[in-house]
């Protein structure tokens, strides 16, 4: 596991940033979004006549302008913006923010088709200044654009309000200069789920930190144990802005910091650094690499001939377990249940199928079917909380519950494979206490670009026209994107402009908490335990 991660770390930040399929992030698209809006209400007035009471009426009331005047003003604004965009482009054409900004401009122009969009813009004018959560850093910069941005409705789901922090970082721009390139790259990889999974992220972080430590020199006037910790915390802060740290990452960082602070300041720097590298290597080996082997070995013993193993999403340790059991010559069937939007089970299915296992694949809506002939359920973990609950990919709880509550059948044992490095002293009663919110745009289905045959129909041409008009400079800089954009306009998902639809929220949580009573056994490198033993093991392993 460590190897692919290591090689990917060698990518330079620019390399990894460019090919990443980034959806334009919320703060970036808002300014351009807002700027595009003044042109909308007049355009849509005839269409909106039936429910106009809140729409154009309020806009006119607020600004006392006739539609014609509004239109004129919008035109002027648009021209100004275009000029500005052009200037920006010429200045920093290679800036990482460039492509995504234009992409979002495109998106907003297409958004004009949605009936609700214009209305939102108009009614939103009244509540400007109330909602001002996102992107406050850019607020002062662009006069009218910033004003429009405030109108954006708060799209965070109220129950999970405490979990919405800063939106995830989208580029390396603005990262502190002390952040090491390896960490920069890793941050983006984690953000885009290239490095995904609790143990993979832990290993990758440790390896990146190893390189940080290798290239570190203690500044004059401080000692390594004192300064290296603060230097590392810059890296850690950067990583956590890319994606919130996993429990395993937190535990590993804690152990590393403890090790750093225990170094005697009188030890020469080179020795201290090699001690730390050795510590990292042995941490990875003991807590993850070997631990995985031990877990796979002992969990594979639980598999018998003729078993039907159900597993959920993609867990590296479960995969290893199944492969180990298969190598031992056991004959069993695997049923993988997967879920949107990450589809982690797909790569697992591919690996297992290539190895020769008998694999069945279905999505989470088919849980009750898949569980019907199951004999055992193997689950991976993101963490185990101190009250014995399993904190894992969202949907795991459904699988565990189905296994336990099977109608009229024997209940199926649920076995969790989890390294002790994933144990935490946090407690959680339900999935709302601890969780991670991912970008809701991941839920919007981007249809693969369709093949365009013949002449596009008039409707598509009509929508395409303002598109090209608006982003005149785009055509020169990017020739390829308009086509898929056009295709996605034709068969676009109804959610394409969900952000303009008032009162509609998308929720994309990453984890859920499985009650302890659904878990029969936790297989760790320290043995197989009931979930109630988690806090004891955690205390033992941290006090060592």
């Amino acid at each position: 596991m460590a190897q692919p991660v290591d090689s990917s770390l060698n990518l330079s930040p620019s390399e990894s940033a460019a090919p990443a399929p980034q959806p334009p992030s919320a703060p970036e698209m808002q300014p351009s979004n807002g700027a595009a809006k003044p042109s909308k209400p007049p355009k849509q007035q005839p269409k909106q006549a039936p429910n106009a009471d809140s729409g154009p009426a309020s806009a006119a009331g607020g600004e006392n302008l006739s539609p014609a005047e509004l239109k004129k003003r919008a035109k002027a604004e648009k021209q100004a913006r275009r000029a500005k965009e052009k200037a920006d482009k010429e200045q920093g054409g290679a800036a990482p923010g460039g492509p995504s900004a234009t992409a979002s401009a495109k998106k907003s122009s297409s958004g004009g088709g949605g009936g609700a969009g214009g209305k939102d813009a108009a009614s939103g004018a009244q509540q400007k200044g109330q909602r001002h959560r996102r992107g406050s850093a850019q607020a002062g910069a662009q006069g009218p654009a910033a004003e429009k941005k405030k109108k954006q409705e708060d799209k965070s789901v109220a129950v999970f309000g405490h979990l919405y922090g800063q939106p995830r970082r989208t580029t390396v721009a603005g990262a502190g200069k002390e952040v090491h390139p390896a960490v920069l790259a890793l941050g983006l990889q984690m953000r885009d789920y290239v490095v995904c999974g609790s143990s993979a992220r832990c290993v990758a972080t440790l390896l990146a930190f190893k390189r940080v430590i290798e290239s570190y020199t203690t500044p004059l006037g401080t000692s390594l144990p004192r300064h290296l910790t603060t230097h590392l915390s810059h890296q850690i802060t950067y990583l956590s802005t890319c994606r919130p740290l996993s429990i395993s990452q937190g535990n590993a960082i804690r152990a590393l910091k403890l090790e750093i602070s225990s170094i005697d300041p009188s030890v020469p720097e080179a020795t201290a650094k090699s001690t730390l590298s050795d510590f990292i290597d042995s941490f990875i080996r003991e807590k993850i690499t070997v631990a995985d082997q031990v877990i796979a070995g002992s969990a594979a013993q639980k598999i018998q001939d003729g078993d039907v193993i159900v597993t959920y999403a993609g867990s590296s340790i479960v995969k290893q377990t199944l492969l180990t059991a298969f190598k031992q010559g056991k004959k069993f069937r695997v049923s993988i249940i997967d879920s949107r939007p990450l589809f982690e089970g797909k790569s697992m299915a591919r690996t297992l199928a290539k190895a020769g296992l008998d694999v069945q694949y279905s999505l989470v809506n088919a849980v009750s079917h898949a569980i019907k002939d199951a004999t055992k359920v193997f689950l991976g973990a993101h963490g185990m909380t101190s009250n014995g609950r399993l904190y894992s990919r969202v949907g795991t709880a459904l699988v565990a519950m189905s296994a336990k509550e099977r109608a009229g059948g024997v209940e199926v044992p649920v076995i969790v494979c989890c390294e002790t490095v994933k144990f935490t002293d946090r407690v959680a009663l339900d999935s709302i206490v601890v969780n991670e919110i991912a970008d809701a745009d991941e839920l919007v289905i981007n249809q693969p670009p369709q093949q365009v045959t013949g002449i596009p129909d008039s409707k598509a041409a009509a929508t395409a026209q303002p598109d090209t008009k608006k982003g005149g400079n785009k055509a020169s800089s990017q020739t390829s994107p308009p086509e898929p954009n056009l295709a996605s306009l034709n068969g676009s998902s109804p959610l394409a402009n969900w952000k303009e639809t008032p009162n509609l929220q998308l929720l994309n949580i990453l984890y859920d908490v499985t009650p302890a009573e659904y878990v029969d056994m936790v297989v760790t490198e320290m043995g197989s335990l009931p979930p109630s033993a988690v806090p004891i093991v955690h205390r033992m392993s941290t006090n060592l």
Partner: protein
């Protein structure tokens, strides 16, 4: 847009249009192939198509003999059901039409004996032969025996008119003049049955509104409601409540099979070409009424269930034991609700209520297109692994707390009673 799309894809609208012009046998064959190809697939569309077809069949049947009408409807019904046994509404509609004919025949025979009842007896759309209830209570477990005896009882019923104790008229009051009226009465059977079918069709059109009328009893201010897939019945229900109250809706998207419709429902951008949404597509989405709608993937249901006050589900068909067949993923949602002690409410028109007792649950489940699970880009995987995409789930009765039909709210344990109200015992397996 609708005219072109109708021409391209045969569906309910084009079928109903063709029904007027095509000869009857072609129409039957058309519907059979539409059902087989799943080009008509939603419960309501199937029910509507069946009802209109039977209307045509009856009106084309130039006979006044109830026995012959029944025979004809049975033979058509058998073919339709065989074409798509999992669309249980087809069978339901056929059974109700059969029930209509039988009721008319009985009324007619009764009129022979009872002059005073002759003209005034207009058939209620739902046959309520009170005596049947107690009977079916005891015999409902003996479905096979009933089915065996059905043809015999049917013929004996007509050839030897024996008085029905449940009916008000008694043979004692038979008068010679009744014979004279008999001629006009037999003529009326077909017209009455056609009227009855018209009422069934009306019911299909109104059922959502009738169900929605109960919405305010069940949805209260500031509640959090969870629902799954796009069901027009559920949507209508929520919209009705939204007119008066503010609440929050969490909408699980039912990913591979119906997510597009769900997304369209929550965002209000309805695709114009969906046949079933002919009138419903003009209704506002919930969000426009100020209701907060949170769209979640199916996997997040358990995580959110602890905050949900009520789960409202649509269904594909309801079975006589109180269980239901609904879109895949419903069962696990209902189960999660049970675990969290959250009430589960199922809204369904009575036409979806089927007199079938599920003995083999697997036979109720239809499997769908695997390419929705593994897209074409991952085609290499399909050779190596077994991809499953069930379309439906069987949800046992114990996971449902309440059914709301157009007749009101019922406990799942009460459904058998409604079944016996709506279907004649002889028709349960026709």
């Amino acid at each position: 847009m609708p005219p072109t799309s109708v021409a391209l894809t045969p569906g309910l609208t084009s079928y109903l249009k063709s029904l007027k012009t095509n000869p009857i046998d072609t129409s039957i064959d058309n519907l059979i192939s539409l059902l087989k190809r799943r080009q008509i697939r939603h419960s309501r569309s199937c029910a509507t198509a069946t009802a209109y077809l039977l209307l045509r069949v009856i009106s084309a049947c130039r006979t006044n003999d109830a026995g012959k009408l029944i025979e004809r409807v049975q033979s058509v019904g058998r073919r339709l059901v065989a074409a798509q046994p999992r669309e249980m509404v087809v069978g339901n509609i056929v059974r109700r039409v059969l029930g209509l004919i039988r009721d008319e025949a009985e009324d007619d025979r009764d009129a022979d004996f009872n002059l005073s009842e002759a003209g005034s007896e207009s058939q209620p759309q739902t046959p309520r032969a009170t005596d049947d209830h107690s009977d079916s209570l005891f015999t409902r477990h003996e479905r096979p025996t009933v089915s065996m005896s059905t043809p015999i009882s049917m013929f004996s019923l007509l050839s030897h008119p024996e008085p029905e104790p449940s009916l008000p008229g008694t043979p004692a009051s038979a008068s010679p003049s009744g014979r004279l009226l008999g001629h006009t009465q037999t003529k009326d059977i077909r017209a009455e049955v056609i009227d009855g079918i018209g009422e069934i069709i009306d019911e299909l059109g109104q059922v959502d509104d009738q169900i929605a009328a109960y919405a305010l009893d069940h949805i209260h201010s500031n509640e959090i409601i969870l629902t799954h897939t796009s069901s027009t019945t559920v949507q209508r229900f929520l919209l009705k409540a939204a007119a008066k109250r503010k609440f929050t809706v969490i909408h699980a998207e039912s990913y591979p099979n119906n997510h597009e419709a769900t997304h369209a429902t929550v965002s209000g951008n309805q695709p114009a070409d969906e046949e079933l949404l002919s009138t419903e597509s003009f209704q506002k989405p919930l969000t426009e009424l100020g209701i907060t709608v949170i769209l979640i993937p199916d996997s997040a249901v358990f995580a959110l269930m602890s905050r949900v006050n009520k789960v409202i589900l649509g269904t594909h068909s309801v079975l006589a034991n109180g269980g239901l067949v609904a879109a895949a993923g419903t069962r696990v949602i209902a189960r999660a609700a049970k675990v969290h002690q959250t009430p589960v409410v199922v809204v369904s028109g009575v036409y979806k209520l089927s007199p079938v007792y599920p003995f083999d649950f697997d036979s109720l489940i239809e499997y769908g297109d695997a390419s929705k699970v593994i897209p074409f880009e991952d085609g290499d995987l399909v050779d190596q692994i077994d991809v499953q995409n069930p379309l439906y789930d069987y949800v046992p009765a114990e996971l449902v707390d309440l059914y709301i039909t157009n007749l009101g709210g019922h406990a799942p344990s009460y459904l058998y009673r409604i079944v016996s109200d709506h279907y004649r015992r002889e028709d349960i397996s026709f």
